[in-house]
Amino acid sequence: MSPASHGVSVRIDGCGKTFADGTRALDPATLDIARGETLVLLGPSGCGKTTMLRIIAGLEAPDPGGSVLFDGKDVTSLPIERRNVGMVFQSYALFPNMTVADNIGYGLKIRGVARDERAARVAELVALTNITGLENRRIDQLSGGQRQRVALARAVAIRPGILLLDEPLTALDAALRDRLRGELNRLLRALGITTIYVTHDQAEAMELGDRIVVMRKGGIAQIGSPREIYFAPKDRFVAEFVGAANIVEAPMEKGELILPGGRLPVGGETTTARATLMIRPESIRVVDTGAGSLAGIIDAVSFVGDRQRLVVSGASTKPLNVDAPNTIQAKAGDRIGLSIPPEALRILPSED
């Protein structure tokens, strides 16, 4: 299996979805996904990400006017069984009346692949997904992580043009989720297959995605690489949904933000009278009182091991979240100075 051997490029053109009861699940959206790319649809529940996945899969038809193209070919009217897509469901949807091997080989059996060839392909996938020894188990004898692997093996067994994953790690506990996320990432890179991954977990989106589509209320809020989404969010929603963010809204004067705890140089050409800014907690440095541009009082300290999260009041209009190294001594009531480099500030469009 050579990388990128069987991926397709996908184009979604003006696909919206209105359900029979009049609910608008997805505003008409246009999106291009390159061959071999991993695209993550990220958003809170009800944002339309699953609807978009199901339209690409062929499980939902887009509203009239929308079309889905695989490698430039219009597949809008093709049902899912003729689109050659691999799909992994949140519940895994493994067939309980079949063994692990039969589950993985099912798509090949439907395609009329001969028994020997099928067995060879199943063995290949069993090895690839690290489930050797489980081939003859029944599904109810598997753990959650094993089920997830079987579901993935079954989906890629048919050499799909595109792999669609609907919150595949959500049903697992946190530690296992972290491990499988890394494993999944390596596997997707190795397969080189075009992948669309739906999740509400921003850490998953960051690690797995070549590009992330942040969605909100049926619309696309921002499309970009994980770095772009994290460092240059387009608006307040993206800033707050992806990672932790302090949103500061205050009057401006001579390129400086006027805050209760001091004046904060923003840099660049800003002429507005008020500004809304995003500051990531880890970009704020704790310094001696008077040394930084802002001063405040520590309200609370939560030590989380690799770092400590301070809540600092009096510095900004609202308490600031600050991620400090785990080595500094800090306790509630301490007066500290804060230094924020201008390049760590992101000016957001003001919202009402």
Binding site: V85, G86, M87, M98, Y106
Partner: protein, 271 residues
């Protein structure tokens, strides 16, 4: 009072009722079956006597045919009713389950109205072909009657089972390339297997033992309950009727047990 003796105390009413109204009469029935001129060999007569054996086979065939046809009709109907929403759906379901309230006599009566000497079918065929088709008083009429009251029960069970089906299983099969028939064969039907066994068992047992409908249609239909009735009331042959009763119970139980063990693997897997 310990937890354990409290549980036993709670089970006491059940034990009393079971003993008084089930175990004792059953025991008496088994003994009565052996009180004929041939003793316990009287039981063998069910199989050796050709008239009894023919009736037994008839009854089993009728019950099996009823079960199979009921499952076929009710599965398709139940799946459709559960998966589709259309005006009049609630009324249709209410109508389909209406016969649940009818005793066997009423069902027999309706079969006579449909296929009896003055029945609708006879009337119609007389006008069309000049020949009256009458089958209410035969085993075919009985078959129709049993279908009529088995279908509602099975439809309700199947609808409940279809509602619990995981739709993503069907979607997963489709994503792997399975067309509508393959999805039914590989995913839907295996998942419904427990419901088939449960509702099929009820349909089968009912058709084996129902009496009211048969009695309303005719007294000479060759089914076991009718045979027991005629041996008991007309021929006053207590020993034989007792033996036949025990036989009917045992054979029904045996066939259901067999069906359950055959489908056992499928049921366990789908559960």
């Amino acid at each position: 009072m310990s937890q354990k003796s409290f549980v036993w105390l709670c089970l006491l009413p059940l034990a009393v009722v079971t003993t008084a109204f089930f175990l004792l009469p059953m025991g008496r029935l088994v003994i009565a079956g052996a009180e004929g001129p041939h003793g316990f060999a009287g039981y063998l007569a069910i199989l050796t006597e050709s008239r009894y054996r023919a009736t037994l086979i008839n009854t089993v065939l009728l019950a099996a045919a009823t079960t199979i046809v009921t499952l076929l009709v009710a599965t398709i109907a139940g799946m459709f009713l559960q998966r589709h929403r259309f005006p009049g759906r609630a009324v249709l379901i209410a109508m389909l389950t209406f016969p649940l309230a009818f005793p066997g006599v009423v069902v027999g009566f309706m079969i006579i109205l449909l296929a009896g000497r003055q029945g609708l079918i006879g009337d119609l065929s007389n006008r069309l072909f000049g020949e009256k088709i009458v089958f209410a008083y035969s085993i075919y009429g009985l078959f129709l009657g049993y279908l009529y009251f088995s279908i509602p029960r099975v439809i309700l069970t199947i609808m409940a089972a279809v509602q619990k089906l995981d739709v993503s299983l069907e979607e997963a099969a489709r994503s792997l390339g399975a067309g509508p028939w393959a999805v039914q064969r590989d995913v839907v039907l295996p998942a419904l297997a427990p419901a088939f066994v449960a509702s099929g068992a009820i349909a089968f047992a009912t058709a084996m033992g129902a009496f009211g409908t048969a009695f309303t249609l005719a007294t000479n239909i060759d089914v076991l309950p009718m045979l027991i009735y005629t041996e008991f009331t007309l021929a006053a042959n207590f020993a034989t009727s007792a033996a036949l009763s025990v036989g009917l119970g045992l054979i029904t139980w045996l066939i259901l047990a067999l069906a359950r063990s055959f489908s056992g693997s499928a049921v366990a897997a789908a559960g």
